[in-house]
Symmetry: C2
Subunit: 289 residues, 2 copies
């Protein structure tokens, strides 16, 4: 049980975390700050936060748990804004989709207090953003990855584990590096590919005619292409090294398939499709096999 | 109202068409043939067809409506198998995902009777195949594209229009060429890309670990990668020209985005994502705008 959550960023992710903690009876009071005062006000009107803070620093003041729910590119600046009020009793977490850059920023800015920060990535989201979509169920039944470093305090890691567990998450642990490689493959590259495919269609003179004919397969395939541009620009930049590596793997597979199509090599083409189809048909979300 | 449907291919697509016609009271009797006798038998046991035919030719005998629901690569051989019993009163249709190759096969094989064939592509399907998944609702509320040629008989085209309309489809008409270009963009290339992405992940030593972390975005993005390998091998081969053209457009967009990522050009990267995201967020299935 926490006394006070300092919430920095009262959007979809932060607002949903606050609502989930409140519903589970895990926090007495939520003090929130968002860059846009109208967002902070709206969050209070909706009951997502109890008190509006005029700055990130004041949102942290007196908190025993702090959540940074800001774009990954704003992480370092946010650490700088709050570092003077950080104490070793405070559990600080984030919700960023990339972890190596966030950990690097924490090392640079938090220094002796870096052990209070437990990097977290909940695998949850929606294609819509903003506090009006905040949902106490957003995280329930989802995975959350914690990526502690050598200097992370064991007690803080344990508390981080407990709080995500209490709001219904399955908690996993891995290194920031392993996290970033895996998510480049199964999240960041798929987003990039979906954006590129939509961009390619929209950029053609007949694009609108084509889109009028698209069916349910296209709808699901491109759902993630509607995601927030600024957020994804930042994620793609932050994890560029791993994404470029995964893009090479993908481009090689695509190139080989196109070559087989061009050369009428139907057997190896079928073999590659078969491998993809078999893997996908046997995959179950959240299960290792 | 038809007397007898000759169904060649009693799988998901053909079986669903037969069930939909029966439910709408549009046909008195369905005579079915599948390459595998056990499929034909199962279709009869399930009430999808009324009579098992021992050959494609005998399925056509006495029919006033014929549906070819076979892989696109089997279209020409099927036309050859049935041509001796085709009469000008018979309405012949297919359900293939590509149309230029099907029309070419019809011209070559059906010759003077080519006008009885109304090429059709219903935009419906499932990731599972087989008569056991046949569903009288598969086509309802979906689009179907008819691609008549100059020699198509107007009366047949009208009847084709009416039968799809009667089972709940929105009927559109376009040339085989326009059809193939559009579906290369919004269906065939997305399938190829989804197959290549899954293949690339599965082909890596850490692939299984990566997949265990994938979330709902990945699930939807890769749903079409579980599609039937033989069917898609055929579609990709049959529409190769348009698919290769669309692949170039996509590869160019992807290449440019990756270049912006590598060069830290975040503004043009965001611009491209923004265009994709805006287009996808405003797209509605089956609506032209």
């Amino acid at each position: 049980m926490f006394e006070q959550l300092g919430l920095i960023g009262c959007g979809l992710m932060g607002g949903s975390f606050a609502l989930a903690l409140k519903r589970a009876g895990l926090v007495k009071r939520v003090v929130g700050y968002s860059k846009s005062p109208s967002t902070t006000e709206r969050a209070r009107q909706m009951g997502v936060i109890d008190v509006e803070a005029p700055s990130a620093l004041l949102a942290v003041s007196g908190a025993d748990i702090v959540l940074l729910a800001v774009p990954v590119s704003a992480t370092e600046a946010t650490f700088k804004a709050i570092r003077h009020l950080i104490t070793d009793n405070m559990l600080i977490m984030d919700v960023g989709s990339t972890k190596r850059d966030v950990v690097d920023a924490a090392r640079r800015v938090l220094r002796d207090h870096v052990g209070t920060f437990v990097p977290a990535h909940p695998i949850a989201g929606k294609e819509v953003s903003g506090v009006e979509h905040a949902d106490p169920d957003l995280y329930s039944g989802k995975q959350v990855i914690l990526t502690p470093i050598d200097r992370t305090l064991v007690g803080h890691l344990k508390r981080a584990n407990d709080v995500w567990d209490a709001i219904g998450c399955k908690v996993l642990q891995m290194t920031p590096e392993a996290h970033d490689a895996a998510f480049a493959a199964v999240s960041h590259l798929p987003h990039l590919v979906a954006f590129a495919l939509m961009h390619g269609i929209a950029n053609q003179p007949q694009g609108k005619d084509f889109l009028a004919l698209a069916g349910p397969g296209f709808r699901d395939f491109t759902r993630i292409a509607a995601s927030d541009p600024k957020m994804w620009r930042d994620v793609l930049m932050a994890n560029r090294h791993e994404i470029i590596e995964q893009a090479k793997v993908f481009q090689r597979s695509l190139h080989n398939m196109l070559q087989h199509i061009e050369d009428s090599n139907s057997e190896p083409l079928e073999g590659m499709i078969e491998m993809a189809s078999h893997t996908r048909a046997h995959w179950r979300m959240g299960q290792k096999k």
